[in-house]
């Protein structure tokens, strides 16, 4: 079927738009809005990935473990960077919108993979993919969000810090992609949860400490 990613994008995005308009709370609206942005970014990434696979002679394994982590992390970082540059560089807000973008991205990506492997998917697959991919995309984009928060405060740290955190996010993403396509796929699906717990515990402790 042609334009499958466009069909899935519309299926996910159309129900969200009215909710986005009707929601009274600004923070919830912002979270849902950036979740939608994440869905859109995934649509663009899917098109870019198709071109990249063609560019690397259809070597899907090489592209998914080395090239798409780079392109996807850069694409996911762009809306966070734009938000930090134009609206707010508050760290808490940036991490929350980065998390929403990662979640939206994982949502459409899971649907695309589901449709492509419709004959082989199972309930355990859905469970593992749902937790693993969603957390992986959210955590990796949140990492970049932390670096981007320096955009206006400390310019010298922003450039190098964001680059370094982007690199960390890319490698983390590549490790996940390599593991889930190998015989060690269980580790791949558990890894994001293992990384997520200390990272968010650390982030919440930081917020508590700065509030005090």
């Amino acid at each position: 079927m042609e334009n499958l990613s466009a069909v899935l994008l519309l299926c996910v995005a159309i129900p969200i738009v009215p909710v986005l308009i009707l929601l009274p709370d600004r923070r919830s609206r912002r979270f849902l809005g950036f979740l939608l942005v994440g869905v859109g970014v995934c649509f663009i990434a899917a098109e870019v990935n198709t071109l990249l696979v063609r560019l690397f002679d259809g070597d899907m394994m090489y592209v998914t473990t080395n090239i798409t982590p780079v392109s996807e992390e850069i694409l996911k970082a762009l809306p966070v960077l734009f938000f930090a540059w134009t609206i707010s560089d508050d760290r808490e807000t940036l991490v929350s919108i980065a998390f929403a973008i990662g979640l939206g991205f994982a949502l459409l990506e899971n649907l695309l993979i589901l449709i492509q492997n419709i004959d082989s998917v199972t309930v355990p697959w859905a469970f593992a993919r749902g937790i693993g991919a969603a957390l992986m995309h959210s955590v990796s984009t949140s990492l970049v969000g932390m670096g981007v928060s320096y955009v206006r405060k400390r310019r010298k740290l922003f450039y190098c810090g964001t680059f370094s955190l982007l690199v960390a996010a890319i490698i983390y993403h590549a490790i996940f992609n390599s593991l889930v396509q190998s015989q060690y796929r269980i580790i791949g699906f558990v890894l994001p949860a293992l990384v997520c717990v200390p990272l968010f515990e650390h982030f919440h402790r930081e917020i508590r400490q700065s509030a005090e």
């Binding site: 473990t65 080395n66 740290l157 190098c160 810090g161 690199v167 960390a168 490698i171 983390y172 593991l179």
Partner: protein, 220 residues
């Protein structure tokens, strides 16, 4: 393949030790950002080496094409560069003529890295690998500029850099070892790979404790 795997496991273990030593001490609010960035740099080595271990275990080579593991080295030295350039350098160098001599001496760092890149540049690898190697060498060289500068510059006002000299020496050594590892992989030299891997493990394991000692001396 096996020696590459064991070398990566060893460096991963060393970097993990350094990261786990530094993370509870510095990855929290109201701690010196300089130290946090060094710890995060070590974290990048952990991720890069973990990726390389996974890649070898899943049956793919580390050489021949671009692989994401090299970004671990890039991330590490980008953090090291950022910590020195963004946090410390303005405290010790106002850009005046008095420090010109030290800025000149600092160029020996990038020059040394450039010389160490030459065997890779004229080696048997593909053009893509050489280009990736050049980017890695550039970032290491940029970080080494400040590491060498802070090794020699007199720290008259704050006494910060004086306490961190040993750390800067270890960071330069780690940069040199990364370049030698690149050469070992390019020429498939097992002996050089084992030697650099062993030394890298030791250096990356002690780099955070050494930095911690320096930071504590500076804060007391």
């Amino acid at each position: 393949m096996m020696e590459i795997l064991w070398e990566n496991i060893a460096v991963l273990a060393g970097a993990l030790f350094g990261f786990l030593y530094g993370a509870p001490r510095y990855l929290q609010a109201r701690k010196p950002l300089y130290a946090s960035m060094i710890v995060l740099g070590t974290g990048c080595t952990v991720l890069g080496r973990l990726y390389q271990c996974v890649r070898v275990l899943t049956g793919y080579p580390l050489t021949g094409r671009f692989q994401v593991g090299v970004l671990g080295v890039l991330g590490t030295f980008a953090f090291f560069f950022s910590s020195n350039y963004g946090q410390i350098d303005s405290l010790v160098d106002d850009g005046g003529d008095a420090f010109r001599r030290y800025r000149m001496i600092a160029w020996t760092g990038p020059a040394l890295i450039a010389v160490l890149y030459l065997p890779t540049a004229f080696g048997p690898q593909t053009a893509a690998e050489k280009a990736v190697g050049a980017i890695v060498a550039f970032v290491i060289a940029a970080a080494c500029y400040y590491h060498v500068k802070h090794l020699f510059i007199p720290d008259v006002d704050y006494g910060v850099v004086k306490c961190l000299r040993r750390f800067n020496a270890f960071a330069i050594l780690y940069g040199i070892l990364c370049m030698l590892e690149m050469t070992a992989l390019a020429y498939q030299s097992t002996m050089l790979l084992i030697a650099t891997g062993g030394l890298m493990t030791l250096v990356i394991a002690v780099i955070v404790p050494v930095m911690d000692k320096g930071v504590r001396a500076w804060r007391t």
